[in-house]
Point group: C2
Chain length 478, copies 2
C-alpha cells in the first residue's frame, strides 16, 4: 500500500476518504475523519487492558490520515503503547502526516530495525524529516541500512543546511533538453516508466544542464508536434540557490505567485525542484514559530508531556524574572517616598503596564514586518518616525485620561494627577520607540527578534515606567 | 499587456524579471527587484518637483511587480501623488500585487471611471478584492459598468459570504463528462479556444454536473486513447461547500496535502475550483491575523498613516487601561499596609508580572491550537490538566527562586520570603489555568480568542497577583 501511494513530484497526498466519512467529519469539531468518540474510547480501553489483538483489529482498516489523527489524539502513554503494539507493521505513510512533536515521540518508541524497515518505504524528504530528529550517530546507523537509491538521495539532502532550499527541494522531477520537439517530449513521457507519479511541469535545460525554461503540461498538450520546446517554454527563469533559506524561498513564491521553481547548485546546474505545496508547510511553520517565540513557547505543546512543556518554558520565565527584579530594584530606590505617599504604589503599575502594552503592539507589527520583508532599508527610518508619533499621540491621549481618572479617584493628591500624566506620556513614547528599535537591533545582530525582543521591552517599559513616575513624584512632591 | 498576462485557472503570475535583475535583488535586503535607492530617490524628487513627465518616464519600463514594490515603498503622500499622475494608465496587473492596505489607499485616490477601466482589464477575483474595500453604493456603481461577462462573475462571487469558499474559488476551470474517452478529452483540449491559460487538472462530472473525479494532466498524457476518463480518474472526491469558511478550506488543504479541490453549490453541482496557490494567501493572512490580534494591532501598519495606526490601537489600550485600573483598585485596598511595609510595593510587581508571562505562554499555545484544530473535544480536558500541572510546577520552581532572592535581598523581612513564595505559586497556577480557560470560553461564545483573551488574562493575573500577595501579607504580618 505504501509503495502504491508513494508520493512523488508534487508530494501529492490524494483524497483517500469517501463521502460518508466526509459527512461524519463535518458534524464533529475535529478532523478525525471516521474516528468517533466511541472508537477512541474503545481503543483506549483495549490499550489499557493490554488487548493487543483487539487494538490491531481496530486500527487495521484506518487510512494513514485516520491513524495519524488517532495517534495524535491519544495521550502520551497510550500513544507509546499503540506504537509498541503496531511496531513496523504501522503504515509508513502515517509518519509524514504526524505533527512534528508526535513524530519524534513515535520515532523514539521504535527500535532501529523497525525504523529502517519503515524508512525504506518512504520518500527521501520524509526520511530526512525523520532523521532530523536524531543525533548524528543514530542518523548514520540508519542511513547505512537504507536501499542504495534512497541512501544517496537522503545523504545528498542532508548535505545541505537545515531549512535550506536544498533540503526542501525534490530530486524527482521531469527534465528535458530544450531543443527537443513537442513530439519528442510526448514520446519520452509515454515510453519512460520511471517518471514521478504526479507532475505538472516539465523543466528544460541546455546541454550543460543549466535551467533555461519550463513548460506546463497544458501547453504541451495543446502544442503542435513539430514545435521546439524552447519555442513554447516559459523562458524567464529565476533559479533558486541550494543554500537559500526556506523562509526566503517561501517569500519569493508568495511575492511572485509561483507554482514551482528550479533549484541550482553552485555551478548553476539544475539539481531539484521546489513546488508550492512544500512552501505551504514552510509558511505555516515559520509564522507559527513567530507567534510562539513572541510569547516564549514552542509549537506542539498540545502533544508534549507536562515535564517537557515545563522545561521548555523555564528559560523565558527566568529571563522575565530578571527583568521584573530590575524593575523592582527601581521601586526599591523610592521605598521611602512610597512609605509616605502610598497612593504612588497604587498608581505605579498603571504606568508600567500601559507602557508594556503599547510597546508590545509596536513589537508585533515590527517582528511581522521584518519576517515578511515589508520593513526594508527604504522605509525603516520612516516607520521609526511613525511609531514615535503614534507613541506620542497615545501618550497624550492616555496622559489626559489617566489624569482625569486620578483627579477624581484621589482628589486629595492633585499633584499626582499631573505626575502620572507626564509619566504616562513619556513612558508610552519610549515604549513605542523601544518596540521598534529593539527588534531592529536584534535583527542586525542576527538574533531572531521574535525570540528575544519581549524581555528587553518589558525590562525597559516596567523599569522606565516606575522610574519616571516615582522619580517625578520625588522631584515634585518632596 | 494586461490582457496578455491575464491570470487564469492557477492565478499564475509568471516570472517576469530576468537574471540581471535577480542578481541585483540578491544584493539588496528587499525584494525591490530593479529598484535601487537611486531610482527611488529620483522618483521622490520628481514627485516633489511635480515633474509629471519625468515621473511617467521613470515608471514606464517597470513590470507590475516593480511598480507595486515602488508604490509600497513610497510614503503615503508620494504614493497618492504617483497614482494621481498615472491615473488609469497604471498597469492593472499592479493591483493584485499590492498589500491590502496600500491597495485600499490607491483605490481611494482613483476616480470612478478610472477604476472601471482598470477593473475591466482584471480577473474577477481581483476585481472582487478591490470591491471588498468599498461600501455597497460604490460597489454597485462600479459593477454596473463592468463588461457583461465580468459583471456576472463578480456578482456571483459577491453573492457568497466574505472569506468563504465561494469567494475563494475560480470559475475558470476545465471540466468534462466522466464518460468521455482519453481521445475525446485530448481533442476537446486541442480544439477548444476558450480554455483557461494555465490548468493542471481536469475535473469530471456526471450528467447531472455532480463532481465524480479529477485527472491530473500527466495521467491524461500517458493514458491510452480509448480508455474512459472514469477509469483513469482519481475518483475519491471531497467536494467543498460554497459556504465553507476559507480558514476551514486552508486547513483541509494542509491536512490532506491537496493541490486542488472542487466546490459545489447546495444542490451538489460543481461551481468552481480552489487551487493551492489561493490557499497560500489564506494561510498567510489567517496566521498573521492571529499574531496581530494577540497584541491588539492590525496588519499593514507599515503602510498606514500615523493617525490611522493611532486610531486602530486605541481600543486595545483602553481595555488594557481598565484592566490595570482594576488591578490598581486591588492595591488601593491595601494602601495602609503598604504605607507600613513599603517592601511590599517593591515586590508586588514581580508576582503580577510573572503571572502575566506564564499566562501568556499558555494563551499563545491555546490560541494556535484552536486555530489549527489541534485542540478538540477529544483532548481539551487533558490539555487543561497538563497546563494546570505546568503552572503548578512553574509556580513551585519560581516560588523557591523568589523566596531565596527575597531572603537575601530583604533579610530584615523573613516572613515576606514565605509570603511571596506562596503568592507566586498560587498566581502562576491560576495564570496557567486562565491562559487556557479564557480562550476556550471565548471560543465557545464564538468570540475570536486571539482578539479578546489577553485583556481578561492580564486583569486576572495582575489583580490576582496583587490580591494574593498583599492579602497574605495582611493576614500574616498584621
Amino acid at each position: 500500500m505504501a509503495k502504491k501511494n508513494k508520493k512523488s513530484l508534487f508530494n501529492l497526498k490524494k483524497k483517500k476518504f469517501n463521502k460518508k466519512n466526509h459527512k461524519k467529519k463535518q458534524q464533529q469539531d475535529c478532523y478525525c475523519l471516521g474516528l468517533g468518540p466511541k472508537m477512541i474510547n474503545s481503543i483506549n480501553i483495549a490499550l489499557k487492558e493490554g488487548d493487543d489483538i483487539h487494538v490491531r483489529k481496530i486500527v487495521e482498516g484506518l487510512s494513514e490520515y485516520e491513524l495519524a489523527d488517532l495517534i495524535e489524539v491519544l495521550d502520551i502513554g497510550s500513544r507509546k503503547k499503540l506504537i509498541e503494539i503496531l511496531g513496523d507493521r504501522i503504515n509508513p505513510e502515517v509518519f509524514p502526516e504526524l505533527n512534528n512533536v508526535v513524530q519524534e515521540q513515535v520515532i523514539e518508541t521504535l527500535e532501529e530495525p523497525q525504523l529502517v524497515k519503515i524508512a525504506n518505504e518512504l520518500d527521501s524528504d520524509d526520511v530526512v524529516e525523520i532523521l532530523e530528529h536524531m543525533d548524528e550517530d543514530e542518523q548514520h546507523h540508519i542511513i547505512e541500512q537504507l536501499s542504495p537509491d534512497l541512501k544517496y538521495q537522503v545523504q545528498s539532502s542532508l548535505s545541505y543546511p537545515e531549512d535550506s532550499a536544498g533540503r526542501l527541494m525534490t530530486r524527482e522531477f521531469v527534465s528535458m533538453p530544450d531543443d527537443w520537439t513537442v513530439k519528442d517530449a510526448k514520446e519520452f513521457l509515454l515510453r519512460n516508466e520511471e517518471l514521478p507519479e504526479d507532475f505538472y511541469d516539465i523543466f528544460l535545460t541546455d546541454t550543460k544542464y543549466h535551467p533555461t525554461g519550463q513548460i506546463a503540461l497544458d501547453k504541451l498538450l495543446r502544442a503542435k508536434p513539430n514545435q521546439r520546446l524552447s519555442d513554447i517554454m516559459d523562458g524567464e527563469v529565476v533559479p533558486i540557490d541550494v543554500d537559500t533559506d526556506q523562509e526566503e524561498v517561501a517569500h519569493m513564491f508568495r511575492e511572485y505567485g509561483w507554482m514551482s521553481a528550479m533549484v541550482v547548485d553552485k555551478r548553476g546546474h539544475l539539481v531539484g525542484v521546489i513546488t508550492i505545496d512544500d512552501v505551504v508547510n514552510v509558511i505555516h511553520e515559520e509564522v507559527s514559530e513567530d507567534i510562539m517565540h513572541l510569547s516564549g513557547t514552542e509549537e506542539g505543546d498540545v502533544y508534549r508531556s507536562v515535564f517537557s512543556i515545563f522545561k521548555s518554558r523555564i528559560v523565558w520565565l527566568v529571563t522575565n524574572l530578571f527583568a521584573t527584579i530590575i524593575a523592582a530594584s527601581v521601586v526599591k530606590g523610592f521605598q521611602e517616598i512610597i512609605a509616605q505617599i502610598s497612593v504612588l504604589a497604587v498608581l505605579m503599575p498603571i504606568v508600567a503596564s500601559m507602557g508594556g502594552t503599547t510597546g508590545n503592539q509596536t513589537l508585533a507589527v515590527v517582528v511581522r514586518a521584518l519576517a515578511t520583508k515589508e520593513l526594508t532599508s527604504h522605509n525603516t527610518l520612516r516607520v521609526i518616525g511613525k511609531e514615535f508619533m503614534v507613541g506620542l499621540f497615545n501618550g497624550m491621549l492616555f496622559a489626559f485620561l489617566i489624569a482625569v481618572i486620578t483627579h477624581f479617584w484621589f482628589p486629595e493628591h492633585q499633584m499626582i494627577s499631573v505626575i502620572i500624566a507626564v509619566a504616562m506620556l513619556i513612558n508610552l513614547t519610549i515604549a513605542s520607540l523601544a518596540g521598534i528599535l529593539i527588534p531592529l537591533l536584534l535583527n542586525r545582530l542576527k538574533v531572531d527578534p521574535a525570540v528575544a525582543s519581549g524581555v528587553f521591552l518589558i525590562a525597559i517599559t516596567d523599569s522606565g515606567g516606575f522610574f519616571i513616575f516615582l522619580g517625578l513624584a520625588k522631584l515634585l512632591l518632596f
